[in-house]
Symmetry: C2
């Protein structure tokens, strides 16, 4: 979804190759990503994995996702790292706590700890953002990453505890490029699954 959204913001056409859960762990896919994950990205002579690296690659080569002024550009990239390294880890840990460890005797008590770690990061981000529209001036790849990470939280109800962050995420979601990417992603799930 992040890569689709970035390509839509940059106005670049793309083709999608779906990978089944089984194929993701097999040698052909591991040749593209040794960790057996998606997404991967291919263009002439270049193969990449890691959604952050792919979004940054797209953002550096096309207008629309990074400011031109060098310092503002460095700060936009900083917000990509801040998403992946500081805000998103406890959000992903919520999935671990709920699903990978949901059957453990400690599940409920640990879930509360993880939610508090998420609240700490959301509280700090909420204070930083204040009533600004985006993280640092105009919409950037940093906002793209952050909005997507926050949207993962919406089903938990945690995002709505921070009205300015909920509004920020909704602002990202309302962008036409997001809407096009979301419709394309949704179409994957409403069509048949990939063959192994």
């Amino acid at each position: 979804m992040r890569v689709r959204w970035a390509l839509e913001e940059a106005g670049q056409p793309y083709d999608v190759r779906l990978v089944s859960f089984k194929a993701m762990k097999e040698a052909a896919h591991r040749a593209l990503n040794p960790f057996g994950q998606i997404p991967t990205y291919e263009e002439d002579g270049l193969a990449l994995f890691e959604s952050g690296a792919i979004v940054l690659h797209i953002a550096q080569r096309h207008a629309g996702l990074l400011p031109d002024e060098p310092n503002a550009r460095a700060r936009a990239v900083m917000w990509m790292f801040a998403t992946l390294n500081t805000v998103e880890p406890p959000i992903l840990d919520l999935q671990t706590a709920k699903f990978a460890e949901g059957d453990k005797p400690w599940a409920a008590e640990r879930l509360a700890l993880v939610k508090d770690r998420i609240r700490q990061r959301l509280g700090e981000l909420s204070i930083y953002l204040g009533d600004a529209g985006w993280l640092d001036g105009a919409f950037s790849a940093g906002d793209l990453m952050m909005v997507h990470a926050l949207l993962r939280l919406r089903p938990s109800g945690l995002l709505d505890e921070y009205p300015n962050l909920a509004a920020y995420a909704a602002r990202g979601e309302a962008r036409p490029a997001y809407q096009r990417a979301f419709a394309a992603q949704l179409a994957v799930f409403t069509s048949k699954p990939p063959a192994d």
Copy 2:
């Protein structure tokens, strides 16, 4: 340590301003990093946080940390993201399991789960690396990040379960720039702590 190492590889002089645990959470520091963490980085007109963003900024502006060829450069940046997003999270979770949750009744059983998640990533990385010297051609900022993440694991004994990764980390550690950075970092701990 990552930022020191990058500056040493790039041959750039720097000054260090220490921040106490108390000061890290106060308003003056939060103006540099809203999440109240270190490191932060300042040069004329620019303030950054997130070690990955700082290392990338240094690597993009000075020779020695990224290849010139655009595709190889994109792959080196990809390995920075792979470190922070895929390899390091379970390594950092080991700290959470041991310290933040070390007094919980589930600590021992969960520690085993976390160690297995680390082994999964190390096993995949070990297969990928094989007998290569660095992740993708010459030493890059991707190796700098990965070696530092792996070295965090050494006290646990997990790194030594993968001899090629242990040798890779030792190769990074042996670089003169790492040695200079380590000596400078060590000197911080052998001198007096910063005043609040």
